[in-house]
């Protein structure tokens, strides 16, 4: 039994490190995209459209992972797409986290009318299918990177608010809060100095998971052509094109899909791994 537990822990550790390694690699690729990418991601070459990846017969070795229908280099587009994917993930998840966690803390700790209001909004939000909601919002505010980030923030703040609210409520009922109050600390001081540090691990976990969700939302919106212009290299846009030419050029779909899959999986596994680490019961 004890040995089994040890094995589970070690496997969780491997998962955590593999995910972290993939994400660090992505960050490096995003930062140095212009130096790594073999070609210009926007350059079209109609004479070398739909070239297969290098190991398939008829390939041009300079296009390592092949080209799309307009002759653009798949590898270079994936590399530059990393910038958009990670940029959207980091910015939107951080803003979502700050707003959602703040509302959750206020509702859970102060209770009263703040709680009623926040909870009612959460209920209404839960009645929307999120994908439909995001598409609707983008249609209203118009496509673009800023719109995507805004849509993610507007839709996903409830993910943080729900969990943090419950957690703040649980923490607020604990003895250490009561003793801080007896010691004469103000309500807001308690919230900031006592409650917040105790819910911070959960916030970090949720933030990591939210980055994975943001990557997917961006891909979905690019897929339905509501992201930025179709010229710009996004993984979702590439997948969308790949879906239509799946029988002629599978590589246009497969490589961005693998990248997206590993990225989403890594964010999720990293979040779950951190949750296990932070959880005192498991430790």
């Amino acid at each position: 039994m004890a040995e089994g537990r040890f094995q589970v822990r070690r496997r969780a550790g491997v998962r955590l490190w593999l995910s972290a390694a993939w994400l660090i690699l992505l960050v490096i690729v995003a930062l140095f995209a212009p130096y790594i990418a073999p070609k210009d991601p926007l350059e079209q070459d109609l004479f070398s459209g739909r070239l297969p990846p290098f190991w398939v017969h008829g390939a041009d070795a300079s296009f390592v992972l092949g080209t799309d229908s307009l002759g653009r280099d798949v590898l270079s587009r994936i590399i530059f797409g990393t910038r958009i994917a990670l940029g959207v993930a980091v910015v939107s998840a951080s803003v979502t986290c700050i707003i959602g966690a703040a509302l959750g803390l206020l509702a859970g700790f102060y209770r009263g009318w703040v709680d009623v209001l926040v909870s009612r909004f959460i209920d209404i939000w839960m009645a929307f299918p999120p994908v439909l909601f995001s598409i609707l919002l983008i249609a209203v505010i118009g496509p673009g990177l800023f719109s995507i980030i805004l849509a993610i923030v507007v839709i996903d703040w409830t993910r943080f608010a729900r969990v943090i609210r419950a957690e703040a409520m649980a923490q607020g009922a604990m003895d250490y809060v009561a003793s801080a109050r007896v010691a004469g600390r103000g309500r807001f001081g308690i919230l900031l100095r006592e409650i917040l540090p105790n819910v911070l691990p959960i916030i970090v976990v949720l933030l990591t998971l939210e980055m994975g969700i943001a990557v997917i939302v961006e891909a979905i919106l690019s897929f339905v052509n509501l992201s930025i212009s179709t010229d710009d290299p996004t993984w979702g846009g590439m997948i969308s094109e790949g879906r239509t030419s799946i029988h002629q050029a599978w590589w246009v779909l497969v490589f961005p899909l693998i990248t997206l899959f590993l990225t989403v999986l890594s964010f999720s596994q990293l979040g779950e791994g951190l949750k296990d680490r932070f959880d005192p019961v498991l430790r």
Partner: protein, 336 residues
């Protein structure tokens, strides 16, 4: 008494939620810049033509006025007329709803089957390599959303080993004898199993894509509950009475362990229905979600509104049903 009170309270909050959804959607989509009416008319239309048609659709009034007119109509079952399709929204939406319901229920069934089988196998073979393998597979299944599973399934079973259809609901060249929009149900009722097979070969991959993450959630929770139940005295007693291990799990532990999973399935089912929007798009399946995306792209305000409200009704309805079932089943709440 307490049950009745719970019921009443939940009905009221549900009504408030739906009203909130209606108000938010109504106002949000009317902030849209472009004029949907101008988009309907041919390029040569005069400003007068646009004004006349705007008045026909009631879009010349103030937004609160429009809302009251619309809400009044909804209470009488009139959800307005689609701008692009020029048909009543209610008829359009109800025509597409069965396709989405059939897909969702099929996906739910698959999720329960796969998740249940994984949990039972994992419990039977606990502390072996098989259990470890199931745990890892579930971890991956859970981490990746339906959209990506859909793409993976398209690649594997649509292109690499093309055994299933990857687009549409039914082969277009087939003669359909159906009078309702519940094609799958009706094909079985009419004993037209050739059509059932065709429908299933179209629905299997999108349903599986929706089912995979939910199956993992069901599998994890059910196995957790089963594990806890397996240590209870009455299970040990059954074992000493000579029942086989499989029988102990199936007939002794399962009935007691299944309740938390059932509650979870209800809540998760709404997420699954929400997932149909993008999955239907991915598989060109002619359901409500696909229609919704078209409506958004075409700025068909009345249609968007109708679809979003219908989704909200389904979501809150399922949640209400789950809560009430739970309240009815849970003696602590029933006698609260």
């Amino acid at each position: 008494m307490a049950l009745l009170q719970t019921l009443l309270l939940r009905m009221i909050t549900t009504a408030v939620t739906l009203l909130g959804v209606a108000v938010i959607v109504f106002f949000v989509i009317r902030v849209v810049p472009g004029n949907p009416i101008a988009m309907m008319l041919p390029p040569g239309a005069t400003a007068e033509d646009i004004a006349t048609l705007t008045a026909i659709y009631g879009l010349d009034k103030s937004i609160p006025q429009q809302f009251l007119i619309w809400a009044g109509g909804v209470l009488q079952g009139d959800f307005g007329t689609s701008i692009t399709l020029k048909q009543p929204v209610l008829a359009l939406v109800l025509g597409r709803l069965p396709a989405t319901l059939e897909l969702s229920v099929l996906a739910l069934g698959m999720a329960i089957l796969i998740g249940g089988a994984a949990a039972l196998t994992g419990t039977r073979l606990r502390e072996t390599r098989v259990e470890g393998g199931i745990d890892i597979a579930q971890g991956v299944a859970l981490s990746v959303p339906d959209f990506l599973w859909g793409l993976v399934l398209i690649l594997v079973f649509g292109v690499l080993v093309p055994v299933f259809q990857i687009s549409g609901r039914v082969t277009p060249s087939l003669q359909l004898p159906f009078v309702t929009d519940f094609y799958l149900v009706e094909s079985v009722v009419r004993l037209r199993f050739d059509l059932t097979l065709d429908l299933l070969s179209h629905m299997l991959l999108p349903a599986l894509a929706l089912a995979i993450p939910l199956a993992a959630i069901i599998g994890q929770l059910l196995k957790q509950s089963l594990k806890e139940t397996m240590h209870l005295d009455y299970v040990t007693l059954a074992r000493t009475q000579g029942y086989s291990e499989a029988k102990v799990i199936w007939s002794q532990a399962l009935p007691n362990a299944i309740l938390p999973t059932l509650t979870l399935v209800g809540v998760q089912f709404t997420f699954l229905i929400g997932g149909t929007v993008i999955i239907e798009r991915l598989f060109s399946y002619e359901g409500l979600g696909n229609m919704a995306i078209d409506a958004v792209i075409n700025r068909d305000l009345p249609l968007i509104q109708g679809i979003v409200i219908l989704f909200a009704v389904i979501f809150t309805g399922v949640n209400l049903l789950v809560d009430l079932t739970y309240a009815a089943l849970n003696p602590r709440l029933r006698h609260g």
